[in-house]
């Protein structure tokens, strides 16, 4: 499988601030790749380098097989970008901006544009200055999605969209995914979004990649929360390797357990006798929080 985006050991400094400190990012052609990180982690900085807007200070980067800095204009014909804060020319209407950006990119499909306007419920006749934040994002999204390009680079594209519109966004991206020939890099800090859409993800923090892989890969690194009502005292469970945050209240226990320690823990419970049991699968949310806590220590 070829890679649409390959960045290794990327370094970017702004004066004394090191925004990227050896970041790695590998996005395979045809996949939807989640790019996760808290505010200030370096997502936007990375994307700006990929787009040839900023120059990196170290490391190597390839985009669609080319050099994003020197071959920017050629590469840009094959991609579309939606920034986290779409700004519009105050005097141009939303429809005009969609057409303009599409044409500057090399053409857009008017039928696709009409369909997306309908689905996102956007009035294209309003002037740029009168759109709300959410509606400006819609203009950027429609302009990008109605161009026939190989790669979509979306930087927190749903900020400001209401939940209904976020749902529309997810449907549209899932449709793109089914087509199979489009690659999407989706930067986000909304975990449910990434969980719903992405094949693989890269988690970064402080300009460094701290985790990359499929969701299933990452679930190995997570813990399941178990709540149970027991028939007797759970001797030895609290001290079992891989069991964390153990709480006991009369006959009720609640604890988190590492995925690899799940089996011994369950065997212990069965031995004591289980009256009821609730197990909560690991969510990306937890994974995310835990990664960051681990990193902080």
């Amino acid at each position: 499988m070829t890679e649409a985006i390959t960045a290794t050991g990327l370094v970017k400094r702004f004066g004394k601030v090191t925004a990227l400190d050896g970041l790695d990012l590998h996005v395979a052609t045809g996949e939807v790749h989640g790019f996760l990180g808290p505010n200030g982690a370096g997502k936007t900085t990375t994307i700006r380098i990929l787009l040839g807007l900023s120059r990196h200070n170290g490391g190597a980067v390839q985009l669609l097989g080319g050099n994003p800095w020197t071959e920017a204009t050629e590469l840009h014909k094959r991609l579309a970008y939606v920034p986290g804060d779409v700004t519009l020319w105050p005097a141009l209407t939303g429809g005009e901006v969609i057409d303009l950006l599409g044409r500057l990119r090399g053409g857009l499909d008017p039928r696709r544009k009409a369909e997306l306007l309908e689905r996102f419920q956007l009035d294209p006749r309003k002037k740029g200055r009168t759109y709300s934040k959410g509606n400006r994002q819609k203009v950027g999204l429609i302009a990008a999605l109605s161009s026939d390009v190989e790669l979509l680079i979306l930087d927190e594209p749903t900020s400001g969209l209401d939940p209904l519109m976020e749902e529309v966004f997810r449907e549209v991206i899932l449709e793109e995914k089914r087509r199979g020939d489009r690659t999407v890099l989706l930067s986000s800090h909304i975990l449910s979004e990434v969980e719903a859409l992405c094949d693989r993800l890269t988690i970064i923090r402080d300009g460094r990649t701290i985790e990359t892989g499929t969701l299933t890969d990452m679930r190995h690194l997570t813990r399941t929360t178990i709540q149970a009502e027991l028939a007797g005292p759970p001797d030895g469970l609290a001290t079992l390797a891989g069991v964390h945050d153990f709480q006991l209240d009369h006959d009720r226990v609640r604890f988190d357990v590492d995925t690899d320690a799940l089996e011994p823990a369950l065997q212990k419970l069965v031995k004591v006798g289980v009256r009821s049991l609730v197990s909560q699968p690991p969510s990306l949310e937890e994974l995310f929080l835990r990664q960051y806590q681990k990193d902080e220590r």
Partner: protein, 525 residues
């Protein structure tokens, strides 16, 4: 108004350098005139001669206003007649910067959510600007008294400047309520300032001739403050007009603000086309959409200037014919032709400098585009940085050519006796100097984008050379700083190609280095 005090402190902190600079500098400029007038015209008789000549010279009256006396103080106050325009300019820019520009950038929303009254920001901006105006007046009065001029006249002189600041703080406050963008607000306020100047010029130059249009000066706030006539009649009642105008405009701004929501203006936004016309499909089409409004506005402004200057040129001849003393002077200067020629040549460098401001403004529009994120959107399509910069610079470099040509044509409409070729040539030779100043702006934008605003320093410097250069009889090197000094004085002078070619080469080099810098840096930076 709750919280206005805290906002005043915030404004003072943000403007802690620039505000004292303009307030004190404009207050100190006239002090330089005192020494130079004392040096040039030491005796009463010489001053009377000079004053009689100047009071009827329409070129002088256009720039500085009417002159009614010949005492040292009166001459100095008259010579400072362009300063109220500059003070007004600083005032309106400051008010808009701290009201609409903040609101557009979303900073007002942050402040608005804190415990701050609805009108606090407007009040803080107006109060601080007016305080700067008071400072300017105090500095000026003190400097004049310090040079031994009468106290009463110096007070009126200070008041003239302070009131100019007050009036245009009011204009800025109203303009800030009308549009939803700072750029639009600035355009409206600048148009009012330009109109005030044009009305004053119309009325004052008419007063030199048959006086049929002299009432026009009384429609202009700049006319009002000049009619204080410091050191002469010391008339205080026009000050009341200016104060009343200030109070009314600020009150109107407050009312307008009460009636609108945060972030929107008064002028309702209409619906536009749902899809882009065929013309809007290239970088050039986009640049045309962005720059055409300014091009049209400046073209109209330059056409008006041309009509006025042409009309004034015609009256220069009439006066020369009707006044024996003047005719003698003209004959000594080389005949009435020479006088008219030097008038048009002098006007041409003023017009050139104004065109340079248009060039710089249009060049710096690229910085605005960059900061608002629009450039990023264009550069992530298949448009290269060179193409993007080129389409914008097309307007920054050729726009001034269009407006200068229009000015020349308009001049020859109201001065049909003149040779169209000579008049047109006189303004068009300014272009290389205009390009040098625009080139400095490209350089700043490309190499030190965060400091792009320094591109306004050269036009300011050239204006200073124009305002004080000849009066102070400064060294040639000082005059040489301004590219306009090197432009051949046409009509009348020799048309030599060397300075024009050299200036064009300098401009091209500045532009090339600037664009190369843009190609190499981060966008946005």
């Amino acid at each position: 108004m709750t919280g206005a005090g805290r906002l005043v402190r915030l404004i003072l902190r943000r403007d802690r350098i620039i505000m004292p600079v303009w307030a004190v500098l404009l207050g100190l400029v006239p002090a330089g005139y005192v020494a130079s007038f004392e040096g040039l015209f030491p005796t009463d008789a010489e001053r009377i001669d000079y004053a009689r000549l100047s009071a009827t010279n329409t070129g002088f009256v256009t720039l500085y206003g009417p002159l009614h006396g010949s005492s040292l103080g009166e001459l100095v106050a008259w010579r400072a007649g362009f300063l109220p325009v500059l003070a007004g300019l600083c005032a309106l820019l400051t008010v808009i910067r701290h009201t609409r520009a903040d609101e557009e950038a979303g900073r007002t929303e942050l402040i608005g959510a804190a415990a701050v009254g609805r009108h606090a920001q407007l009040a803080a901006a107006v109060l601080t600007t007016c305080a700067a105006g008071l400072l300017m007046g105090v500095v000026l009065t003190a400097a004049m008294v310090g040079q031994g001029l009468p106290a009463a006249g110096s007070l009126a002189f200070g008041a003239e400047m302070t009131l100019s600041v007050f009036v245009f703080a009011g204009v800025g406050a109203v303009a800030a309520q009308l549009t939803s963008g700072a750029r639009g607000a600035r355009s409206i306020a600048l148009t009012v300032l330009a109109a005030a100047f044009v009305l004053r010029v119309g009325g004052d130059t008419s007063a030199v001739g048959d006086g049929s249009l002299r009432w026009m000066s009384w429609l202009s706030p700049i006319g009002w403050v000049q009619h204080l006539f410091p050191y002469g009649v010391n008339d205080w009642w026009p000050a009341l007009l200016a104060l009343a105008f200030t109070v009314v405009t600020v009150a109107v701004a407050g009312r307008l603000q009460s009636r609108r929501d945060l972030g929107v203006g008064q002028l309702p936004a209409r619906l536009g086309p749902a899809s882009a016309p065929a013309g809007l499909s290239s970088p050039f089409g986009l640049a045309w959409r962005l720059h055409r409004g300014m091009l049209v506005a400046w073209t109209i402004g330059f056409a008006l200037l041309g009509l006025i200057f042409g009309g004034v040129g015609a009256s220069v001849l009439d006066i020369a014919a009707g006044n024996q003393g003047l005719s003698d002077v003209f004959t000594r200067l080389g005949g009435s032709d020479a006088l008219v020629d030097s008038y048009f040549a002098g006007i041409a460098s003023i017009v050139g400098l104004i065109a340079a401001c248009y060039g710089v403004q249009t060049t710096l529009r690229m910085r605005d585009e960059e900061q608002t994120g629009h450039t990023e959107a264009v550069l992530t399509t298949s448009v290269s940085r060179y193409t993007w910069a080129g389409t914008n610079l097309f307007f920054a470099l050729l726009g001034p050519a269009v407006v200068l040509a229009v000015e020349g044509l308009a001049t020859s409409l109201t001065y049909p006796d003149g040779d169209l070729g000579e008049i047109l040539g006189g303004v068009l030779v300014q272009l290389p100097a205009v390009w040098v100043l625009a080139g400095v702006a490209v350089l700043a934008f490309g190499l030190v984008p965060r400091l792009s605003a320094v591109a306004w320093a050269p036009p300011a410097m050239c204006l200073l050379v124009l305002l004080v250069g000849q009066t102070l009889q400064l060294d040639q090197w000082f005059l040489d700083i301004s590219p306009f000094t090197h432009v051949p004085k046409l009509p009348g002078g020799d048309l030599s190609a060397l300075p024009l070619v050299s200036l064009t080469v300098v401009a091209a080099a500045l532009t090339a280095v600037g664009v190369t810098g843009l190609r190499r840096r981060n966008v946005p930076e």
